[in-house]
């Protein structure tokens, strides 16, 4: 059985409205608070979207995510249906998809992805490490749209309609992509258990 580990990319508590207004007005302290609040999920998403071994690119895309967010922030509808976290993750996702589609990035080799990380200590930790590595490797083989869909749904817990808006596709397409992505990832995980 897989060992339970604490995942850190749970949706963050949203920025309070007063700080958000101040950030929309461009106040430095509020903008910094926004970065500090959302940097972890952005890194978590980009790290998995881009794949292992491309840390400088992940950092660049994370920075670009926030710079674009600041530019568009005055137009963010505080009373609208979109949560700020979903909106920022949408920007990050689109940047990652654009980067991956540009074709400049070779796909992360499965072996590389599977061996990334600190060497495990005990047996339980070894299994956890193996599962995580296998999942990362399987994720790297998914088409970028499926990869984005499953990450937004299962890691960042966005609702399906939020994902549909983020990726500008219909709800049915999100369901379809999610179904395929989960099936492939499950296959990869089952290989570990066998």
């Amino acid at each position: 059985m897989p060992v339970v580990t604490a995942r850190t990319s749970r949706p963050p508590a949203e920025l309070d409205e007063v700080t958000l207004v101040r950030a929309q007005r461009g106040e430095d302290a509020a903008c910094r608070a926004l970065v500090e609040r959302y940097q972890r999920p952005v890194f978590a998403l980009l790290g998995r979207m881009i794949g292992a071994g491309r840390r400088p690119l992940v950092e660049d895309l994370a920075q670009e995510t926030f710079l674009r967010a600041f530019k568009a922030l005055p137009a963010f509808d505080r009373g609208g249906t979109a949560k700020l976290s979903s909106w920022i993750l949408t920007i990050a996702t689109r940047l990652a998809i654009d980067e991956l589609r540009r074709g400049e990035l070779p796909r992360a080799p499965i072996e590389a992805a599977a061996t990334v990380g600190v060497a495990p200590r005990g047996e339980a930790e070894a299994e956890r490490h193996l599962l995580g590595a296998r999942l990362a490797a399987a994720l790297a083989t998914l088409p970028v749209d499926q990869r984005a869909t499953v990450l937004l749904a299962d890691v960042h817990e966005l609702a399906l309609d939020e994902i549909a808006r983020a990726l500008a596709v219909e709800l049915g397409t999100v369901k379809s992509r999610l179904s395929r992505a989960r099936a492939r990832l499950r296959d990869a995980l089952e290989e570990v258990h066998e």
Binding site: R25, A44, A75, T90, V169, S179
Partner: protein, 468 residues
Amino acid sequence: MSSEHDDETPPIPGDTWGPDEAPPEGFADRVMRARAHAAARASVEERTTAAPTKPPSRRARRAALIGIVVMAAASATFFLWPNGRGGTSSGSEDALARTSVRLGGRGVAVAETGARLAWHVEGGAARVTQVRGDVFYRVEPGGPFVVSTPAGEVEVTGTCFRVRLTEEKNVNPMIKGGAIGAALATVAVVTVYEGVVKVHAQGREVSVPAGQAAKVIGGDAPRMLNGPDGEAGVAVKIDIPAEGDPAADAPREELLARDRRHRDQIAALAVRLGKAEGELQSMRTGGPRPPSGLGGERKFYDFTPEELKEMAKNCEIRYAIPQFGLEAPRISDKQASKLGLTAAQVAQGNQYLAETNEHLMKELRALYVEATGDAAGAETLDPQAMQTEIERKSGVVGDDIRKKIAEELAGLRPPGDPTSGPPLERLTRMLLAVSREARDRGIAIGGKANERMFVSNSSIVSGCSDEE
């Protein structure tokens, strides 16, 4: 083409994903430096772009000369202030971004982007000329402190307040040269957070206490916004706890704490103002719509002349368009089977959907940038968000646009030019044109029975503005 599945599959358990990639130490600092760098670069580019590439014309030179004379005249008035304690300080600011300005020893002004002001402080007396924009003032107690605006003068002794200048159509009909109409006037809204502010204009004066606001429309006497003379439905009640003036020897930390507190109060007020504006907008645009002459039928084509006239009466338009977004939609195998389409028809349909998607996204992005000036947002916002922003920037003008187009469709006025008019009008015309084409292409590719094969979004928008 692979089929679409609607079946729900259980999520990958959260405990199998492994550790997250974590941000490096000091990442927020790095972003803030990059932000400051980007802002500085944009400012330089703006100045460079604005710089004349050829010698100024005689007309421009004359305008500049007039400007200098005006500024000189303004400066001359500063020197008429009685000389008292303190030194002399003067300057001007044309805020390209939010800027804090020290007004000699008399206080601080925080000018929002686009604000323009000049100041002179001498012997404890300060005069600020605010030509435009939104400026927050924190004034230390002392001699006279006057903010002069095109709409009127604001006089204080020691307080916190904001002066926001806009241009509005004067709602009072004017008789000028025999013509009755509305004039464009500078409007000053003075909001007081602390102390008391006197607002003068046209020989009248109102005293505005903390938590209240006054409005001056150029040429009129000042009016309280939420006092006895308040404007019903516009004023927002502001509850700010009364706070005395700081002690003359108050330490810097205390003043900074006050400043932070006031900024928080301003931000909280902005939230409430936003909500109030939203409610006002919903009052303007919401409410029961006049019933459509089509009896609620969801019809989108082949209207009779009577139906079109009835729709025009209700400022109603209807369109049914394909889905569009960052990715072009495609006809799924399931849809193709349901509609009885051949592989060739599916290929033709997908080609049409791809071309329409490209056209709609390109035009929508261009209209969004034109309406908002936000080129970056055009790359990151989804189509729905861009449409909403275009509509929002247009305010209630949307009703007028629908009325105009509905009347054109009913033959009550000549057809308009689809390439001119404000962004919202062109967007509306584009959606109507795509709606017609989607139907035509549906018939051409799939036959009359499939006239709606490309349609996934249909809208009926009606209701005329109350001003009619």
